[in-house]
Symmetry: C2
Subunit: 137 residues, 2 copies
């Protein structure tokens, strides 16, 4: 069961310029900043009620997000649904024919456990399952 | 104040095929279906907790969503933040330098009042404010 939209991931060229928009103008609270080397990004989380915006900027030109920006420009990159039990959700989706990028959860931002669905199974939408760490929602 | 992510708008070629994914496989509840002539789309809303996914399919080849699909393919089209008082949010954003597509609210799906921000002000993200009708959240 997907319990809410956990976050929307937005790819940006300039993290600080984007924070100025989301934090200062939209007035969303910046709650976390992290370099996720494995995914080649520096990322921040901002609260929107119980949901989040995740701004992601590439660490270098060979990263997936840098290639996304070069091809499509800044904009929405992925949608993440929150789940309570990520292993059972992965199993349920695979049984329904969904192809997963991650057949096992891996560590995402702020200690979450995450798994991506393959866009060829999702109408082109890069889609993530997120099980938050116990001290976050 | 943005109180939550109201919905993510996802542009699709085939509404019924997409409903099969979101309703039957993801198990999100389809709660509304509407033809929005003004925006040139047929749209459905599905619940994800207190958030929604809005699937939008073009009514004809000259619509904005048909052009989006031709250029970018199916995928995330816009993000909508929920607000309680849309006029005051429009005024607040304009005072911060945001250029609005809609300087006054207009009627959106399911009786909501909506206004779009111009993507040139938002780092390329088509962004909507949504004040839901009183009988919906």
């Amino acid at each position: 069961m997907f319990t809410r939209i956990d976050h929307i991931g937005i790819a940006v060229e300039d993290l600080d310029a984007s924070i100025a928009l989301y934090d200062e103008i939209y007035d969303l609270k910046l709650v976390h900043r992290e370099t996720v080397e494995e995914q080649g990004v520096e990322a921040v989380l901002l609260d929107v009620g119980e949901n989040h915006v995740e701004l992601i900027a590439p660490l270098g030109p060979d990263t997936g997000v840098a290639k996304f920006l070069a091809k499509k420009g800044s904009g929405m990159h992925h949608i993440a649904y929150q789940v309570e039990d990520i292993e059972s959700e992965i199993a349920r989706l695979k049984a329904s024919g969904i192809v997963m990028i991650d057949n096992e959860p891996r560590t995402g931002i702020r200690g979450s456990r995450v798994a991506f669905l393959h866009p060829k199974s999702t109408g082109g939408v890069l889609t993530e399952l997120t099980e938050p760490a116990k001290d976050h929602h």
